[in-house]
């Protein structure tokens, strides 16, 4: 189980006990995960233009010119913040059978594959019909495919996730103090050891019942559970057999 948000680390241990889950991870900064995600997300800008047209009645050169202009516009915004990082381009068309009210987003080849020509529009129709059949089980024969919206997104590359080691503990960390905590399973208060999250070090472990306080949340380690940090400071707590 992964517990994130301000409240989940308070309840995750007890929930895991009820469900028979024996490992719970509380990421570093669990209470402000959205803010961290926002700051680590790729720098991106999407330009969108709606123009209802039957795809195969469009002029390929006009489509190419429009997509190029949209690309330039997105690029100008992203370059103000991308600090020279490598950029990627995602181009999409929102397509439907003429007469419908909902679209499927179909990907166009990247601009590096060359300009949009008549064949690109035909490939887009085929891409739409393939996706439609995959999702809805059939194609609609003899029906025009229309484009509703074009979209071009320029962004930096997303950072790849990396595996992190969880080294074994070589040392027990004693609690700074204790605090009485209501133990619902026992129907009474019990003393829980109190730790400050930023005092914890990798290769140390703490034993429940304990509280790990930090700026944005408090982690409750149930009795019979042991917690330690991985190399990036994420907390892993495990039920002892």
């Amino acid at each position: 189980m992964v517990a994130f948000g301000g409240a989940a680390p308070l309840h995750a241990g007890r929930l895991a006990q009820k469900l028979g889950i024996t490992r719970v991870m509380v990421p570093a900064g669990a209470g402000v995960g959205s803010a961290i995600g926002f700051l680590r997300a790729p720098v991106a800008f999407e330009v969108v233009r709606s123009d209802l047209s039957v795809l195969l009645k469009m002029d390929a050169q006009e489509v190419e010119d429009r997509l190029q202009a949209m690309h330039d516009e997105a690029l100008a915004v992203v370059q103000t913040a991308s600090a020279g990082a490598a950029l990627r381009v995602l181009r999409l068309a929102e397509l439907r059978y003429a007469g419908q009210g909902h679209e499927l987003r179909v990907r166009l080849p990247p601009p590096t594959d060359g300009p949009i020509v008549r064949g690109s529009l035909e490939a887009l129709v085929e891409g739409f019909e393939t996706a439609y059949e995959q999702i809805y089980g059939l194609r609609i024969p003899d029906c025009d495919v229309e484009v509703v919206t074009w979209s071009v997104t320029v962004s930096t590359e997303p950072q790849a996730a990396q595996a992190v080691a969880l080294p074994p503990s070589i040392q027990h960390r004693d609690a700074v103090s204790t605090r009485p905590v209501w133990e619902p399973a026992l129907g009474e208060q019990r003393p829980f050891g109190l730790h400050w999250r930023f005092d914890l070090r990798t290769r140390e472990h703490i034993t429940g019942p304990a509280l790990v306080a930090e700026d944005e949340t408090t982690i409750v380690i149930p009795a019979g559970w042991v917690a330690r940090l991985d190399e990036q400071g994420h907390l892993m707590m495990e039920a002892q057999a």
Binding site: Q100, I135, I140
Partner: protein, 218 residues
Amino acid sequence: MSTQMLHAIRTQVMWNRLISVVEEQAQALLRTAFGSVAREAGDLSAGVYDTQGRMLAQAVTGTPGHVNTMAVAVAHFLQRFPLESLTAGDVLVTNDPWMGTGHLFDFVVVTPVFMDQRPVALFASTCHTIDVGGRGFTADAASVFEEGTCIPHLKLVRAGALNEDVLAIIQANSRNPIEARGDILSLVSSNEVGSRRLIEDDARVQTRASGRFGRAHS
């Protein structure tokens, strides 16, 4: 936790699964429909039935106006086309107001689902098409024959092959032929999406104890 309690939880999980299957069926209809009455006003219904044509679950999205009539419509289909006479890839249709959901505008499409060559359930969906001929959407008609074109219980798809003749007759009699044809094909899609999900769920759950849907208590 007691076995009884686990059983209750399992039943609830299965029930929610079934509801989400028929809800996805309805959403597929909403997203593929051509007529604005179905895709904007949501004048549609979707549900799953046991092999005797009894409704098991209905989508959250839809209208009570025809989901209740549709509840008995599938049994009428089975009288005309007994389940033994159907094969995988067959799809049935009607807009007969007495056999379907109440007026000629509502097309009902029924698709049997097969697992291991055996029929295990049926999906039905219906939506209000824009126009089926006649006097149009008005109370002026003096008899049902003036209200539009009636399509009796028919096979719209035979073992995967679409019967374009049926669609051609409907199109020739409609003031909005593209919407009429598109709506009927979207009903086929809707049932197909439901069938796929049911088969996937069955493979996932492998309902061991009581057989599959519809055979549990029959």
